[in-house]
């Protein structure tokens, strides 16, 4: 078999293994709970009998591996169990919100990825120019701002005067245009934060590349700057750029939590924060697993793609 196919299969296997370990960590974390779930749910005033009854009802009297297996097989079939706080099936709570969160993340990514790649490449090409300095200082500041600061500044500037709504109310009958309009501010917040990161990384990757001897050789061959960038730098820049994009899409996952809370956006992040304050561990576990899986899959995709763009790996000696 082709060496690359073997390599990609190895990566995929590693990805599955990572997912498995992640599920173990997320499940295992609950085992660290002082006391156990039933007693912390009922509080200190509960009698031992009621605790024992609840424990039996929740299956907590089973050994941990058995419960893990039940949980994992359930998750694989889309059944995350029931919420401890509301007693509703978690899958029902997640269904609509997952879609909303994915929509918001994609919206932000669709603006941020092209924008930051263009800005990053330009900053690298015009290194030390005024544009580069301003872009850099701007990006550095944006990275330094907490997401909620960016969000409130945008609300202050754009929502308070009535241009955009500061709270997002979605309903299923909305047209795509309306949806894009009402979610504009949260998407913009995410875009600003992610663009700064991505622009800086793209710039660094390109500068690193432009310092390599084969780029100097291309210049000494009398090639035009455009040709040098497109033909000599870009094919080698794909792998680092893919990694930058993956890293930042993964970053969106974290950013989404705070932004959803600020804009009261009905997504997974908001649900997670609510569940943490209610200490609804079953829901937190489910959402953590979804976020972590998305993160792992993104990195895995980037890994495979950058392997495919590397001629050294694609064509062995």
């Amino acid at each position: 078999m082709h060496a690359v196919v073997v390599m990609i299969l190895q990566r995929l296997a590693l990805g599955v293994l990572t997912l498995f370990v992640v599920s173990l960590v997320i499940f295992g974390a609950t085992e660290l709970l002082p006391g156990d779930l039933a007693s912390s749910l009922l509080g200190q005033s509960a009698t031992p009998e009621t605790v024992a009854a609840l424990r039996r009802q929740m299956g907590l009297d089973q050994p941990a591996p058995v419960r893990y297996w039940a949980w994992l097989t359930g998750v694989l079939q889309g059944d995350f169990g029931v919420s401890l706080a509301t007693r509703r099936p978690i899958s029902d709570m997640l269904a609509a919100r997952l879609g909303n969160t994915v929509f918001l993340a994609l919206y932000a990514a669709a603006i941020a990825v092209p924008l930051s790649l263009i800005l990053g490449v330009l900053a690298a090409l015009w290194r030390n120019s005024l544009f580069d300095r301003i872009a850099n200082a701007g990006a550095l500041s944006a990275i330094s701002f907490p997401e909620f600061f960016v969000a409130y500044i945008l609300i202050f500037l754009l929502a308070q005067s009535g241009f955009f709504p500061s709270m997002v109310r979605l309903n299923p009958t909305m047209s795509l245009g309306d949806k894009l309009y009402v979610t504009f501010l949260p998407a913009l917040t995410l875009t600003l934060v992610v663009t700064a990161h991505m622009m800086r990384m793209t710039r660094a990757a390109i500068i690193n590349l432009m310092a390599s001897p084969y780029i100097e050789m291309a210049r000494l061959k009398g090639l035009s700057p455009l040709r040098i960038v497109l033909r000599h730098a870009l094919p080698n820049a794909l792998a680092p750029i893919i990694n930058v994009i993956a890293l930042n899409l993964a970053y969106l996952i974290t950013g989404v939590v705070v932004v959803e809370v600020v804009f009261v956006y009905p997504g997974l992040g908001q649900l997670m924060v609510d569940s943490v304050s209610k200490r609804d561990i079953a829901v937190v576990q489910a959402i953590a697993l979804i976020f972590a899986s998305a993160y792992v899959l993104l990195n895995l995709t980037a890994d495979v793609l950058s392997t495919l763009t590397n001629p050294r790996l694609m064509r062995r000696k």
Binding site: M217, G222, P235, R312
Partner: protein, 536 residues
Amino acid sequence: MADVLLTIKDLKIEGRAGDDWLPIIKGVDLTLHRGEVLGLIGESGAGKSTLGLAAMGFARDGCRISGGEIDFDGIDLRRASEGKKRALRGRRIAYVAQSAAASFNPAHKLIDQYSEVPVLGGMARSKAEEEAKTLYRKMQLPEPDEIGFRYPHQVSGGQLQRAMTAMAMANHPDLIIFDEPTTALDVTTQIEVLAAIRDIVRDYNTAAIYITHDLAVVAQMADRIKILLRGEQVEEADTRTMLAAPKAEYTKSLWAVRSFARPVAPPPQDAPLVSVRNVRAAYGKVDILHDVSFDIHAGRTLAVVGESGSGKSTVARVITGLLPPREGEVVFDGETLPADYRSRTRDQLRQCQMIYQMADTALNPKLRLRELIGRPAYMYLGLRGRALDARIRELLALIELEPDKYIDRLPSELSGGQKQRIGIARALAAEPRLIICDEVTSALDQIVQEGILKLLDRLQRELNLAYMFITHDLSTVRAIADEVVVMQKGRVVEKGPKPEMFAPPHEPYTELLLSSVPEMDPDWLSQLLDARAGKT
């Protein structure tokens, strides 16, 4: 003169250091005629690469041309627009870089990189490929019809260097700049590349600037030689005159470098200090050493010679215990050493010390000389306080560095040669009986090399040290060895006293190795190629 191709007058180039600009080239003149090859010689930091690039009107990032004239065939390269200079580069002036492996784009096939400029100039793709194959054949590349369709990482270093020369030849340029094109290659590979470059430059009547630090190489390639020292021109003359009668003191000192040689020692009478016996060693599953045996005697120097991949450094790792052998043993003064250094006693560790090739990576940059040199004396000999201080000063004096001036310096405050001396002092501080010298002179300029070799020789006589000298450089072997071991692909090809090794008859590989070392005679390459052609 009508056939002048390139004129450089009073050229000045500066490099940025923080907010300041420091001069790199300080007013250099240069005239090159059509079809002429000029050798540009200098040690590291002489500014020869910078000058070579300036001949293309090019300055690296962080450098700027600050004064003087560059005239290429009537075109003023200092005032020409970027577009005009681009039109010259790759077409009328071409460049061959030191490391072809790094200078070929890893993402494209060799022939695509060859064809790029010709096709942009309007040549049909198929014609460009045909020409490439012709040039590959002329450069004596194996499988000239197929090799272009490989990626750079699929081709060896020597072949890449030739492919790059072919690429430079693509548009039959008037001038090619060769920037140390064979420095990274083994001697036996170097010959092939040198021969190919020389022939093709002659065939196409191309002018060239050949940059190198190796006098013997430039003697083969150049019609004229120009010597640079720290950005200034020292002297210039045609090759034979320059070799026969250098005028400037600096040039004479360069020429004199290879004069050091120690007298031939009588055969050893005593039992060997170290015996390496039937060693087989491997990294993972791959055997690196096969049945290697040799002896080292007290007060004598054994040189282990070989090209990259011969396993010569691996032998050192086996002796020091960094790489326990699969079979065989190392006997030190009659007792077998534990294979792993972690199982050796402190005294066993003390007796065998190492000096490394790169003093920069062998000395901890954050420690002062006092601790660098003092630590072994503290550990092994238990010296403390005033006794330790006295010993450090004694060692500094021994390596000819003034103790009061240097004892509290950091390695970064020393020159390359001084750093290597500290490496020697650190080894001496342990009061060892064997010192392993791993390519200790190959990172240094030639004049500095000479000083290090003399110092090592003096110390050996004073302290009755045994040296194991690992090197690829046969002139170093000639200078310092008593016994020689020649290695190839992990095997000992030949061993014996130095006079025997350098006199025929030789093993075929030794013969190849010896004959491949360039000599200062300008006719050496032609004669060698004739001789080899006659034999086959």
